[in-house]
Every structure is written in structure tokens, then in C-alpha cells.
């Protein structure tokens, strides 16, 4: 059974859809990259998946459950890291972690152990009593990442995770993603850092103007676009140019 399964999802902010029959799935233990130009529909796809937007058509299942069938189970099955860190200005770093642990009903000892490991990994142990107003953008992003990883759900949905992170932070994030996929969790990651996506993602979904233009492993994409030696950068540019050419003709 797929952890995340989108079938013919059509949706957007108004009656005119942004997404057109988007279908893809993510299996257990997979890290899948969602790639597309600005405005391709990546964030809209993610908003539909996390339940902030209702699809106009099609279905979205996480762990075999749709949002309407069992909202609590659906929400427990994923954690989300938004592109722009959204923190509670009135909570300290420790309180953010505690809040997440309460919301996902973690036992106290599990919370202590997981938070200690994450704080060490992201070098934030000394900032437990800090409020978000004292954090840099990268630190705010680290808080979001730690909260998401604290819950250990079946699926991680991550929107542009590398923006604002320093090289050590990026390394820690990638190490965490690798470890979690090895343990059976799945990841959907939207990013513009194509070299990293090519290196770390098991599969890539190329989204263009609200439709899935191509998807599969790097080899699948190379075959589909007829460029056996191409990098993801080359494939990405080729795909968008081809799509624009098709539109013109």
C-alpha cells in the first residue's frame, strides 16, 4: 500500500484550477522530489495534501485514509515543514518541542530522548529558552525541522527545506532524511536545489503548469526525455523548454 496516493487531483484557489488531474504515489521508505518552476503548482499540491485546501476533484490518501474519512488519523500520519518557518512568537524553543510532543501524544521519556538527539544534531541545545524573535532565519527553519522530526510520522512533507540553512544544517537535514527513510518513513520534498534532489531522491516528480509532466527514477526520466547522460538540471530545463515549445506549436 502506498503511504501517499494522489489520484487525479484537480484543485486551486478559485474555480479555475491550478492543478490538473495530478496523480502520483509514494511508497514506504521512499524519498520523492517534487520539482517544478515557480508557479508550477508545488506548494498548491502540498497544501492539498496537508488538508489546508480541498481538492475540486480526485482523492488524496495518506496510509489508506482520506482527510474526510478520519481527520485525526490523517493528520497523525504526516508532519510538515513549510517553506517559510512559522513559529509561535510567544513560545520558547523548548516549548515548541513540548507542544509538538503533546499534540502527537509522545510519552515523556520518548520526547526527552528524541528532542535531546535532535537538539544535538542541529546544534541548538544552548538555545532552549530562546524566543523566536532572537532566532535567525536558519535557526527558525531548524526549529520547524526538529518539531517535524520529533513526531516520527509515516510521511514527511517538506517544502523547500534548504532555504536559509547553513551547510552543516543541510548536512544534518539530509542525514536525518536518510536515516528516517531507512527506518521506513517516506518523504515528499519540494525543492529547487536540483543537484541535491538528484543525489538523494529515489524518484522525481516533474510538475509543470499544474500537471505531472514526468515522474520516475533518474533513469526513467532520462529515457522519457531521450537524454541518456543528462543531469536533473538538464532534464528540468529540457522539459520546460519542450513544454513551452509544445504550447507555442
Amino acid at each position: 500500500m502506498a503511504i501517499l496516493d494522489l489520484k487525479d487531483v484537480t484543485g486551486g484557489y478559485s474555480r479555475k484550477p491550478v492543478l490538473h488531474e495530478v496523480s502520483f504515489n509514494i511508497q514506504k521508505g521512499e524519498l520523492v522530489g517534487l520539482i517544478g518552476l515557480n508557479g508550477a503548482g508545488k506548494s498548491t499540491t502540498i497544501k492539498h495534501i496537508i488538508g489546508l485546501m480541498n481538492p475540486q476533484g480526485g482523492t488524496i490518501e495518506i496510509n489508506g485514509v482520506t482527510f474526510d474519512e478520519d481527520t485525526e488519523m490523517y493528520r497523525k500520519s504526516f508532519s510538515y515543514i513549510p517553506e517559510t518557518p512559522i513559529l509561535y512568537e510567544e513560545l520558547t524553543l523548548r516549548e515548541h518541542l513540548e507542544l509538538t510532543a503533546m499534540a502527537y501524544e509522545l510519552p515523556q521519556d520518548v520526547f526527552e530522548a528524541r528532542s535531546a538527539a535532535l537538539l544535538k544534531e542541529f546544534r541548538m541545545e544552548k538555545r532552549l529558552k530562546w524566543y523566536p524573535s532572537h532566532f535567525s532565519k536558519g535557526m527558525r527553519q531548524k526549529v520547524m525541522i526538529m518539531c517535524a522530526f520529533l513526531a516520527e510520522p509515516a510521511l514527511y512533507i517538506i517544502d523547500e527545506p534548504f532555504v536559509g540553512l547553513d551547510p552543516l544544517g543541510i548536512r544534518s537535514l539530509l542525514a536525518q532524511l536518510t536515516q528516517r527513510t531507512e527506518n521506513g518513513a517516506s518523504v515528499l520534498m519540494s525543492t529547487h536545489v536540483l543537484s541535491t534532489a538528484e543525489k538523494h531522491c529515489d524518484r522525481i516528480i516533474l510538475l509543470h503548469e499544474g500537471s505531472v509532466r514526468a515522474h520516475g527514477t533518474m533513469d526513467d526520466l532520462r529515457k522519457a526525455l531521450g537524454r541518456p547522460e543528462a543531469s536533473l538540471d538538464d532534464l528540468y530545463i529540457a522539459m520546460t523548454e519542450e513544454a513551452d515549445y509544445e504550447q507555442l506549436t
Binding site: I50, G51, L52, T71, E72, M73, R75, K76, S79, Y80, P82, I86, L87, Y88, E89, E90, L91, E95, E98, L99, A101, M102, A103, Y104, E105, L106, P107, Q108, F111, Y131, S133, M144, C147
Partner: protein
């Protein structure tokens, strides 16, 4: 691109519209009546006092101090925006076209205060037989000049020091202004000339220092944002201001109400909402103000019926404002994705609002017992707060659910 003169013109037009938009709520009929009565009462008390002024009062010094106090704070109103740090950067040489207009507006917007102080001071000067028409004319001219120099000097000081140590500059100007106004009132013309020269030299010193420094966009943009936020906070007492960013304070002295969490036993929404209420200045101070006003009403309103109406109205305002603040706006919050959010958050908002209103009722009861002793009145007062609060919370919640 528009010239900087046009940029200032456009921004100023929008700024005036923004001020008008909120000031219409601030100066409603009620506030106008309160102001009218307050000014009338103060004017009457002042005129009575003038009939028999104490002879030993150093009137000239006092008026010089008051006039200096009304001119020395000259925070520039630049209307700069965050994007200016990028887009106006290449136009730094042309920036004086913009800042010159900004300083002219700052000068004219701040001038009324010292002029009012001057007008109010005139009867007192006559009562103490200080000065003459010529002296008053000169004083008025010097007030205008001091305001003009203050606006420009504070701007230049901020430019030269990126806003650091501005109170040093203000203190020096305050001392110079006090001496200047006293010299006029006491008609010590040589001292007046010396102080005026010192004032001019002080201004020219900062002109020279500022000339070689790049324009500190970050400081002036932050200053402008803080100034507007102050205005929005003030306007928020009278009407809802959507773009008001709530400020946060730790308030660790209220740690008793924010106990350490035990993640298995504490409810996430209860944990979050308590901290939101206590640490968000807007919600906390509003509740506290209304509670203190209720207590003052109980203590100072001599007629119990009037006191019941007064504390009932404040309980309604307090309950509804607390509910609204805790509900938050339409912005995305991470707890929207938490399991169980839809069921638990509204319940916790209801419960917390209820509790803070019970607390308010408790304070009102205690104040009532203090004033009226062990009798029925204090308990009715407490009950009024409880009943109005409960009704407000329940009716508002039911309305939302419908």
C-alpha cells in the same frame, strides 16, 4: 522611475488617508465629549489658579522647561519602507530631495505642541509680570526656530550614529532650549546670543558629521515601522487594526499560571493558549486594564446600580476581546495541522476565557467587599461579571458554530 519628490508626495497622500481612516474611530462622539469636558475642567482649574498664583514659584524657569520639553523630542517621520533599503540605495545622492520633505512634514506636525504650550503659558507669564509683547513675539520666533533646528539635528545625529545614543543629543538640546527660553524670558540678551550661537554650532557639528556617513536605511526604516506600530496599537484600542503585529513579553513573574509541561499529561491547546494569552501584550494588557477599570469603578462609583452597569459593560468587552484574541486571525499556524485541533481548540478557548473572567469576577468581589463590607452588594457585583461574561462567551460561541 518616479522622482523622489513624487515618491514622497504619493506616500504622504496615502499616509494621511491611513491616519484619517483610524482617527475617525479614535475621535468618536464619546471621546470628543470626554476631551471637551477634560479640557474645559483643566482650563477652569488653571484660570482659578492664576487668580492667586504662588509668589515663590520660579515661573520663568518652569515655562522655559515646559517649552523645552515640548520641542526636544523630534523623531523624524520619514515614511520609509523596508523595500527602500534595496530600491533607494542607488539614489542616495538624490535622497535629500526626499528627506527634506520628510523633515518639513516632521517640523510642521510637531510644531503645534510647543505653540499650544506657549499660548497656555501666556496668561501665566502675565500673572507673574514676565516679559512684554516684544518678548513674547521673540519667544514665539525662538520656539519655531528651536523646533526647526531640533528636527534637523535629531535627524543628522541619527544619520551620523545610526540612531545610537539619541538621548544624549536630546538631553543636550533640552538643556540648550531651556537656557535659550529662560534667557528670553529673563531678558538676558548676551546669554541669549551665546546660547543661540552654541545651538547653531551644535547643529552644524552634526551636519558635518552626518555628511560623510552613508544613509542608515535599516535604522530609519525600523524607526518608521516602530512609529507606525505605535499608532496602530493606539488605534487598536478603538477599532480592529488588521496589520498590527502583537508584541510579546516573557512575563516570567506569571510563571505560576504557565507551569512546566509534562507532555503526556498536558493538553497541547491549553498549553499554547495560556502562553498566548499571558505573553501577548495586546490580550494581556487589555484584560488587565479592563479588570483594573472594573475595580476602580467598584471603588469610586458611589451608586451601586451605576457600578453594576459599568462593570457589566467592562466584563462584556473583556470577554469578547479575549475570545477574539485567542481565536487569532486567518494566518496559518502549525497547530492547524495537529490531530484533534478542530475539537480541542474551540473548547480550550472557551475554557480559558471563562477562567480569566472568573478571575476578574473574583477581583471585583474583593474590591466590593473592601468597599461595602460583608453585604449583598459585593456578591451582586461579582455575579454581574460572571453572568455577563458567561452569556457573552456562550452566545458568541453558539453564533460562531451556527
Amino acid at each position: 522611475m518616479n522622482s523622489l519628490r513624487e515618491v514622497w508626495g504619493n506616500r504622504f497622500g496615502k499616509y494621511v488617508m491611513e491616519l484619517q481612516r483610524y482617527l475617525q474611530y479614535v475621535f468618536t462622539g464619546h471621546l470628543a465629549i470626554v476631551l471637551l469636558f477634560s479640557i474645559g475642567a483643566a482650563g477652569y482649574a488653571y484660570s482659578e489658579w492664576l487668580k492667586d498664583v504662588p509668589a515663590e514659584l520660579p515661573a520663568a524657569w518652569l515655562i522655559a522647561l515646559l517649552l523645552a520639553a515640548s520641542t526636544f523630542i523630534a523623531t523624524p517621520v520619514t515614511l520609509l519602507k523596508p523595500a527602500d533599503a534595496v530600491y533607494l540605495l542607488p539614489l542616495e545622492k538624490e535622497l535629500p530631495t526626499y528627506t527634506g520633505r520628510a523633515l518639513n512634514w516632521t517640523f510642521f506636525s510637531k510644531l503645534p505642541l510647543p505653540i499650544i504650550v506657549f499660548i497656555v503659558a501666556l496668561p501665566m507669564l502675565s500673572a507673574y509680570e514676565i516679559g512684554s509683547k516684544q518678548v513674547f513675539g521673540l519667544l514665539l520666533l525662538l520656539i519655531i526656530a528651536a523646533m526647526w533646528v531640533s528636527v534637523r539635528t535629531e535627524f543628522l545625529f541619527r544619520k551620523a550614529n545610526e540612531g545610537q545614543g539619541v538621548w544624549q543629543d536630546r538631553f543636550i538640546r533640552f538643556v540648550l532650549s531651556t537656557l535659550l527660553f529662560y534667557a528670553v524670558l529673563s531678558q538676558q540678551w548676551i546669554i541669549l546670543v551665546i546660547i543661540a550661537i552654541a545651538y547653531a554650532l551644535y547643529g552644524s557639528l552634526w551636519m558635518k558629521k552626518a555628511a560623510v556617513k552613508p544613509f542608515p536605511y535599516t535604522h530609519f526604516i525600523e524607526l518608521e515601522q516602530n512609529r507606525m506600530m505605535g499608532f496602530y496599537r493606539f488605534a487598536n484600542y478603538f477599532t480592529e487594526v488588521p496589520h498590527l503585529k502583537g508584541s510579546i513579553s516573557k512575563r516570567s513573574w506569571l510563571g505560576l499560571f504557565m507551569p512546566d509541561a509534562h507532555v503526556e499529561r498536558t493538553d497541547a491547546q491549553s498549553f499554547l493558549l495560556r502562553r498566548t494569552f499571558i505573553r501577548t501584550d495586546e490580550s494581556f494588557w487589555l484584560w488587565l486594564r479592563l479588570t483594573v477599570l472594573s475595580i476602580l469603578g467598584v471603588v469610586f462609583i458611589p451608586f451601586p446600580i451605576v457600578a453594576f452597569v459599568f462593570i457589566g459593560a467592562l466584563a462584556f468587552a473583556s470577554a469578547i476581546q479575549t475570545l477574539q484574541t485567542l481565536r487569532g486571525g486567518d494566518e496559518f499556524r502549525m497547530d492547524l495541522l495537529f490531530p484533534n485541533t478542530e475539537e480541542t481548540r474551540p473548547k480550550e478557548i472557551f475554557r480559558l476565557t471563562e477562567r480569566v473572567q472568573w478571575l476578574q469576577a473574583g477581583f471585583v468581589l474583593l474590591a466590593g467587599l473592601f468597599m461595602h463590607g460583608l453585604s449583598v452588594t459585593p456578591f451582586i457585583m461579582g455575579a454581574v461579571v460572571l453572568i455577563i461574561s458567561e452569556a457573552t462567551i456562550r452566545l458568541t460561541t453558539n453564533k460562531e458554530e451556527e
